[in-house]
């Protein structure tokens, strides 16, 4: 159970993939995040990631795209099919390097900013980020699996897309200000993995990528959350023993208390 479950649950967390931009693309776009470190304690309910920066073009030409990426992981998408009256998971398709969290924010719809090729090349949408790692079963729709992956993660709040400014009924958006200043805000739900994230900012002009910037965001546990997690990972055997002892004392205490009353 152990290894299989581990593989299932924590399928290889690794650094988010950033496709190599062409040599003529500068990586000096002035951008930063409001909080480089987000702390997770016992009252954590998720948080907001704020990315701001300046379009260096004096006349403010160009479009801004901000992508917040979590670590990549493997994922399997299966299709339910009725077999002898029962719904059975069939035809698994494996994906590699799927982002565990992916939010793309732009000042106007992404398809108006960049070509389909650019979106695919720079992995500007969640579907473009996943790499197919197994054969598509005969007769199945390849796009169906990829779309399902995005749809399922979107339903969990892990994949988000916003074009235009944030408003009270939306959980994120990108706003352009005077003087080329821009600010992107996105909600990081509590179920997003705790890890190292990256905020990638892209400046497009006339559909061409001009410059980029990558800023890390560290999400880390603090206090008791951190102590428990460290014990569970670094002293896992004793952590298990402690849990069992806690269970036994809880059981013993309850039976003693209830006998007296």
């Amino acid at each position: 159970m152990k290894r299989a479950l581990a593989a299932l649950a924590f399928a290889m967390l690794s650094t988010p993939a950033l496709a190599q931009p062409a040599a003529d693309v500068a990586s000096n776009l002035p951008a930063a995040v409001a909080e480089e470190r987000i702390t997770v304690s016992s009252d954590y309910r998720g948080s907001y990631v704020t990315v701001f920066g300046v379009n260096p073009d004096r006349r403010g030409r160009g479009d801004i795209v901000v992508v917040v990426r979590g670590p990549t992981e493997d994922a399997t998408v299966m299709r339910k099919r009725r077999v002898f009256g029962l719904w059975v998971n069939t035809a698994p398709v494996r994906f590699r390097e799927t982002p565990s969290f992916f939010a793309v924010l732009s000042n106007r719809p992404l398809r108006q900013i960049a070509s389909a090729q650019s979106i695919w090349r720079y992995r500007l949408d969640a579907a473009a980020s996943a790499r197919l790692d197994s054969e598509i079963p005969a007769g199945a729709d390849p796009a169906g699996y990829r779309n399902a992956l995005v749809r399922l993660r979107r339903a969990q709040g892990l994949y988000q897309e916003y074009a235009g400014r944030a408003s009270p009924d939306r959980r994120g958006g990108l706003t352009l200000y005077q003087g080329g200043l821009f600010r992107a805000v996105v909600r990081l739900p509590a179920n997003a993995p705790i890890a190292e994230y990256y905020a990638d900012t892209y400046l497009f002009r006339d559909g061409r990528l001009i410059s980029t910037q990558r800023v890390p965001i560290n999400i880390a546990r603090v206090g008791i959350e951190r102590t428990i997690h460290d014990l569970a990972t670094h002293a896992s055997f004793w952590y298990g023993i402690v849990t069992v002892l806690l269970a036994l004392s809880a059981g013993w205490l309850a039976s003693v208390l209830f006998r007296r009353s």
Partner: protein, 304 residues
Amino acid sequence: MIYLPIAEMPVNVLLVLLVSGGVGFVSGLVGVGGGFIMTPSLIFLGVPAPVAVATGASQIAATSFSGIMTQTRRKAVDWRMGMLLSIGGILGSASGVWLFERLLRLGQLDLIISLLYLVLLAGVGGLMLSESLAVMRGRKAGSVTIFRRPIRGIAHNLPFRMRFPRSGLHISVLPPLFLGFAVGVLAAIMGVGGGFILIPAMIYLLRMPTNVVVGTSLFQVLIVSSLVVVLQSTATQTVDLVLAALLMLGGVIGAQLGARLGAGLKNEHIRAILGIVLVIASTKFLWDLVVTPPETYVLGGGLW
């Protein structure tokens, strides 16, 4: 709301206490660990399946230990039988872990789990319900037809016989070992303690008196679930201490209340209640297998 450090999600404290208290109540009442309700409930609350399975085991350990304390005072634990069942259970759960990985590699683990739940819960529940109803009907009719245990079964004819004074049995050690093993395998695959299979098997296969069955099965469940907690936390690090503490709190209180109510009930009533609970739980799995799902794709293999 409190954030769980291992499950990496916030949960509603009151909701978790309510669920674990309810599960604990049922487990104290009828002497099962309650994992077969707890694990699916946790997953329903959004806890990742591996964390639910591993952490649920620690709650089962707490509840069963609290139950054993009560049952010991009532002298309702056959320690010798419990040890035999536990030895089988330890070997069984180790084999179950191996089988779990094989099934996972075949890609049909969740189907096997659902079918196992459906067949076992419905089968065992239906059996207990019909049998206890028959006893109750017999009482009402005036004819005192107490459920008759045949004096000799297969357990009497196998070699390596041993005396079990508390149960009043003189049977071979092989059936209890095998039973513990089988339950251990199922427990590891299904992420439960296994009491709901163990109890009827002890009554119907080993012919143990009903009054020692609950306490003795709790002993085996305690040993196996404690082992699962240590194994899981060492191998997968999926035991969430904060969630475990919440589950234990709700679970042990519920179990004590349940055990108290259970002491004042007749055996056939307890069996009828367990039967109803099992049949209701099985319909959930039937529902999931038969009803057309709103989303035809599932992510990550979807254990449950």
